[in-house]
Every structure is written in structure tokens, then in C-alpha cells.
Amino acid sequence: MQVNKSIFIISLIICSIGFPFLANNIWLSIITTFLIYSALSLSQDLILGKAGIYAMGHAMFFGIGAYTFAILINTYNVNLFIAFMASGIISYCIGLIIIYPIKHLRGDYFLVVSLGLNIIFINIINNDPFGLTGGPNGIFAINFPSVGGLDLTGAKAIYFIALIFLSVMILLFYRLNYSKFGRAIYYLNHDHIAAKSVGIKPSLNKLLSFSLGTMLAGFTGAIYTLQYGAVSPEAFGIEQSILLFAVVIVGGQGSLIGVVAGSFVMFVLPEIFRSYAEYRLLVFGAAMVILMVIRPNGLFPSKFGFFQKRHLQQK
């Protein structure tokens, strides 16, 4: 079992490194999209699946990251790396400012508030404040400066940036269950009264998981801007937020494999089967309904366990 797992992981690494040298540009772009949306869905899962916060406006933070990156580079000619960091940090700060006053809200109220904020966000960028966001057309033909002589806008470069980012996120998620923070949000999510009765702080952990989730979405947004060289409002609306929410629920809350598989189905298959655009929403809608009826815990329900075998074996 352990050997099989290592073989699987090593082959996966080799394949993902070799892939861009074998694939054509269309496939490269599709798989890059997959990597980006997987990272985005994982950031939604931190908030929804791991911490159990019913936030349905996640595309907004993806958008904040994407727009921050685009504006800093297009309007202010900021260095790529600084712009990238700023995308995550600004998303983090806005996430913190938003969650702080509403952290005590119950799930259903929280959901409505977060959707409302997403609508407000779209309205703001549509209105082109200070001439920064470009209104409904967005910002396009962004010229990315090269970094130390390296052109980061080539398809292969973007693929690797997305791959590295997703790998870091997977490591983070994989180790989360083994960390004090990850365990705290698990206990709080499953029974907050019992968790509080053993001294686990509810609001601190809620603030942290939400704002970290929005920060990761912000970083992902920057990579998205890098891939398309353009941003426009429709990629960050409530339809996207609802899809992200559905990916986590359908894939399996808190489940790494589930969420990645869910983003493949929701964001990549539609790209591959573009000619069936008319039917695809119908098919996905039906699939979601059927899946939730037969597998209410998602495609791959999460398994949580955190005492490593090593600890269990010793006496």
C-alpha cells in the first residue's frame, strides 16, 4: 500500500513535469486552467469544507486578486513578484475586514451576506472606479514585464507557476489535519459546543480560516490574470461563486481528491466539450442532483485522521 502510494506520487510528479513538453498549446492551456481552478476550489474548501463557514461569495476574492494584479501591473507598472504578493495580501485584508463584523452569524445568514457582497463587488468593478477596472470590458492586453530576463507569460511558464502553486496548496491541505490549527477547525466545525468545552477558541479560528482562504483565492486570481493577460467581471460573479460552492459539496467537503476531481468536472470538462455548451449545464445540473441524492457526503467523502501510524504503534 505504502509502496503503491509512493509509486503513484512519483509518476504523477514525472507526468506533470513532462506534460508541457509533450502537449500542444490547447491542452496545455486546458490543464493550466485545471490547476488554477483546483487551487481556487481548495481555497474555497478551506472555508466551507474544513472550517464549515457557509460563504458563497468566493469568486469575489478570486476577482480581487486578479484585479489587484492586473491594475498594479497595467496602471502602476509594479514588479511582478510584488504585484503577486499584493494580490494575496489585499485579498486577505479584505477577507478579514469582511468576516470580522459578521463572524458570529449563523450559516444561512452568512451565506446570504456573502452572496450580497459578491454582487456589490461586481457592481463596483462594472462602474470603473477611478478608471482602474475598465468597467464591463475589464482590463485587457496587459503587458507583463519579464522577470530577470525570464518571460513568465509563455504557456509553459504559466503552467509551471500554477503547478508549483497548486503543489504548495496540496502540501498545506495534506498537513492541515496534522496541525493544531487544522484540528481546531475540525473540532469546531463538527461540534462547536464540545470544542469550546475543551478550550478551543471559536472566533480566532474562524477569522483565520476565512481570511487564509481568501488570501489563497487572491493568489490564485493573480495566476489567472497571468494566464489570460486580461480580466473582466464575468469570471468573478455569483455564478462562479455558486459553482465553486457546488464543487466542494459535490466533491466532498474537506476532501483533497474530491475537491480536485470536482473542479475537473465543473471547470475543465466544459472546456473540453465546448461544442455541447448548450447541454452541458443541463447535464451538470442533473449530475449534481443525482449525486447529492445517492452520495450526500460527496463523490469522495473526506477521511479525517491525524495520529500518524508511528504514534499509534508505540506503547
Binding site: F181, D191, K196, I200
Partner: protein, 254 residues
């Protein structure tokens, strides 16, 4: 020495007075019983002590801290731990992972150490695992440590909850009907275990309907009826108290 002091405590739910001007005092290292008919306010009193409910008036002092407006997690961190009348465990987790929750606050690693499985993290895990083992041993549930809670019998789940509550070496342990759903031999074993816990310098307050268990264990018993404290004293005094008998039997027997 006084461990917990409750003064003129009242709790109202809309028109219902669940606790009516309760005053009582718990001293260090003793076992106290809290009895009373169904709906008399026993669990409500526990919820006020542990911070789940905010009392309507009155004061609660624990080890010289007023805990009346304190959040439940703060109260737990001060050293009051409890169990629940209806079991509250994470059923998908193993017994070990559930017991660990009680020690989570004292776990010392940071996120970076956990992320890269560094030495500080590994040492902390081993330390926590030892504590889990120690608590499980006291409750005699070591053989079940690796099993998921949902696969276990009710009596064992109750013990897991107690283990989670005592793993942090609290000063005050509050048990809400720990023997509910247990058979006679399990009750005898539990009585023995509770005495062992007391030996670790833990003050214990216990709600229990089984009078035999109460009289074997408790130094002092408090009796609630309709939210009022109607009697307190040694188990024999309580068993012969007319007011208590009439509260349980109904007035015509008095």
C-alpha cells in the same frame, strides 16, 4: 478551601425560571452530587458554570476568578472541564483523536513545524500521545484507542468523554449523568474510576439519578427542584429529608 462559589444564581428562559436564586460552594478535592427530578434545572446549572448559558443574575467565582461573563473556552482553559448529558463526540474520529481534543489547547507546535513534520512537531505529538494514553488508561479504554467512536458501545463512549475532560488535569470536573445507559457492572467500574480521578486532586460535581452511586461517591449532595435548591447535606441526610422525598414522590407522599 473553596474552589467554586455560586451566589444567588438565576437563569430564566422567557417566562420559565430554570434556576432560582441558587447559592452553593464546592471545596477542593471533594465529590459533590447534584440530584433532582427531570427538568429541575441540573443541566442548566452545569451550562451556567461552563459558560454555555449566560445566567440572568448572580455570580460564579472559580479559584478567585469571576467567570460569570466568560466565554466557555476561557472557562475551560481556567480548569473547568465537563461532559454532556447527550454524548458529544466526533463519531468519525477514533477514541484517541477524541481524547486528544481535551489536550489540544496544550499542544505546543506551530504550523510551520507541522507542515514540514519537524522535530518540535514530532516531539509534541509524542508528548500528546502519551497524555492520551495516560487518560485512556485511567478510564480503562486503552484497547479501544484506535477504533472509531461510532463503532463503540454507549458505556465506552461515556468513558471517552470523561477521558477527554480529564486529560488536561482540570481543577473541577463536571459530569452530567455519566452512568446513563450503563449496566450495573459498568456503573460499579465507573464509581471506582471516579474515585481514582478524585485522587488526582480534582474536585468533582456529578449529576446522577442512581442514588446508590451518589451515596457511595459523594461527600455532599445538593438537591434541586423546580430551579430551587431545596436541600444540601451528606447522602444519608438527603435520603431522609422529607422535602426531598416529596419532591421525588409528589406531594401526597409527604
Amino acid at each position: 478551601m473553596t474552589k467554586l462559589l455560586i451566589q444567588n444564581l438565576s437563569k430564566q428562559f422567557a417566562a420559565l425560571v430554570a434556576l432560582d436564586n441558587i447559592s452553593l460552594e464546592l471545596e477542593t478535592n471533594k465529590i459533590y452530587g447534584l440530584i433532582g427530578p427531570n427538568g429541575s434545572g441540573k443541566t442548566t446549572l452545569f451550562n451556567c458554570i461552563s459558560g454555555v448559558y449566560k445566567p440572568s443574575s448572580g455570580n460564579i467565582t472559580f479559584a478567585h476568578h469571576s467567570i460569570i461573563n466568560m466565554a466557555p473556552e476561557k472557562i475551560a482553559q481556567l480548569g473547568i472541564r465537563r461532559t454532556f448529558q447527550t454524548i458529544r463526540l466526533s463519531s468519525e474520529l477514533t477514541v484517541a483523536e477524541n481524547i486528544y481534543a481535551g489536550y489540544h489547547h496544550y499542544s505546543k507546535h506551530n504550523f510551520i513545524q507541522a507542515l514540514f513534520n519537524l522535530k518540535g512537531y514530532r516531539q509534541d505529538e509524542i508528548h500528546c500521545w502519551r497524555e492520551v494514553h495516560r487518560a485512556a488508561k485511567l478510564l480503562d479504554i486503552e484497547p479501544h484507542l484506535r477504533l472509531k467512536v461510532k463503532t463503540l458501545a454507549y458505556g465506552i463512549q461515556r468513558k471517552v468523554e470523561i477521558a477527554r475532560a480529564i486529560i488536561s488535569q482540570p481543577q473541577l470536573l463536571v459530569l452530567d449523568e455519566p452512568a446513563a445507559g450503563m449496566n450495573e457492572s459498568e456503573k460499579i467500574e465507573l464509581t471506582h474510576i471516579i474515585k481514582q480521578i478524585q485522587l488526582q486532586n480534582i474536585t468533582i460535581l456529578i449529576i446522577e439519578h442512581d442514588m446508590h452511586m451518589i451515596s457511595t461517591l459523594c461527600d455532599t449532595v445538593f438537591v434541586l427542584n423546580h430551579g430551587k435548591l431545596i436541600a444540601s447535606g451528606s447522602p444519608t441526610e438527603i435520603l431522609n429529608n422529607k422535602q426531598v422525598i416529596s419532591a421525588y414522590m409528589g406531594d401526597e407522599h409527604a
